[in-house]
């Protein structure tokens, strides 16, 4: 069973990476770009057949390791 997880910075938290990437893209002539924010992405495969259980496990992983809940939010999707 496979899940994707995206981890993004909370709304009011500074995103230095996104800022530099945005400036660079604008300098490269992408002038319609309004904003870009950078985050992390994980593809997780589990040996599990029970979706509810599996999802709970992924949720656990996010809380324990993948996301820093102080500054980040995360989202889990089954793929």
């Amino acid at each position: 069973m496979k899940f994707s997880v995206t981890v993004t910075l909370k709304e009011d938290v500074l995103d230095p990476q996104g800022k530099v990437v945005q400036n660079t893209l604008q300098n490269l002539g992408m002038d319609n770009l309004k904003s870009i924010r950078q985050g992390k992405y994980f593809e997780i495969e589990l040996n599990d057949n029970d979706q509810i259980k599996a999802e709970k496990k992924v949720n656990d992983m996010c809380k324990k390791l993948l996301a820093n809940l102080i500054i980040e939010d995360y989202k889990i999707t089954k793929i």
Partner: protein
């Protein structure tokens, strides 16, 4: 010899390399990344640092700067180009050197003196070294884990394009002597024409016995011939 050091906003070894070059009597100029022309140079150096904070991928954004187009042109015309640390990463991002520098296998920044072995001393950059000579040189990077595809690796070996490999004191290039997980302990490579050298270790930090040692000097003096 005329040298030019490219300065990105987050370069931080630019002064260090300039000091080393001037110590060896290069006529050196600093070139700001927003410039569109290079001064006349026999050697272009892309120094270490965090060109744009190393955000996104190390070297990626610098690879898109204005001056880089000029560096590519000059390199294609045979000008000597040396990329150290972040400079190596930038050279791979521009495509002047093949392969990539991934994160160190322990996922930590590593700063220490390591031993490297001179693999090919028959180039403009390395002729003052002996073949298989073991040097002690400082490394300082987060992404120095060199990776490339199978065919290119074969080419590197067959064409003698590997400049340096990490090794131990005795010159053994074993796994224990590999600080960052680099493929075949690679610490530096040349392009096919051998006018471009990218390396993770910092030769400019090894030109003064009071601070470290002088194992880096021959790299610069090789170029003077």
């Amino acid at each position: 010899m005329n040298s030019s050091v490219i300065v990105f906003p987050g370069s931080n070894c630019d002064r260090d390399i300039a000091v080393a070059l001037e110590k060896l009597q290069f006529k050196n100029k600093m070139v700001w990344h927003k410039e569109t022309k290079l001064p006349k140079s026999d050697l272009i150096v892309i120094p270490g640092g965090f060109s744009y904070g190393d955000y996104l991928r190390s070297g990626a954004i610098a690879g898109k700067s204005l001056i880089v187009n000029e560096v590519i042109k000059a390199a294609n015309n045979g000008c000597l180009v040396l990329g150290i640390c972040n400079g190596f990463q930038i050279l791979t991002e521009t495509g002047l050197l093949k392969g990539v520098l991934l994160r160190n296998k322990n996922l930590k920044f590593i700063n220490k003196d390591v031993n490297i072995k001179v693999i090919n001393n028959d180039t403009k950059f390395s002729n003052k070294y002996k073949k298989d000579q073991v040097l002690k040189i400082n490394i300082a990077h987060n992404e120095g884990n060199y990776f490339t595809n199978f065919n290119h690796l074969k080419e590197l070996n067959n064409e003698n394009l590997i400049a340096f490999k990490y090794c131990n004191k005795n010159g053994d290039t074993n796994k224990e002597a590999n600080p960052n997980g680099s493929l075949e302990n690679i610490a530096g490579i040349f392009n096919t024409k051998k006018n471009i050298l990218g390396m993770m270790p910092h030769p400019e930090r090894m030109v003064d016995n009071l601070i470290s040692n002088t194992d880096g000097i021959n790299l610069f003096s090789s170029l003077l011939k």
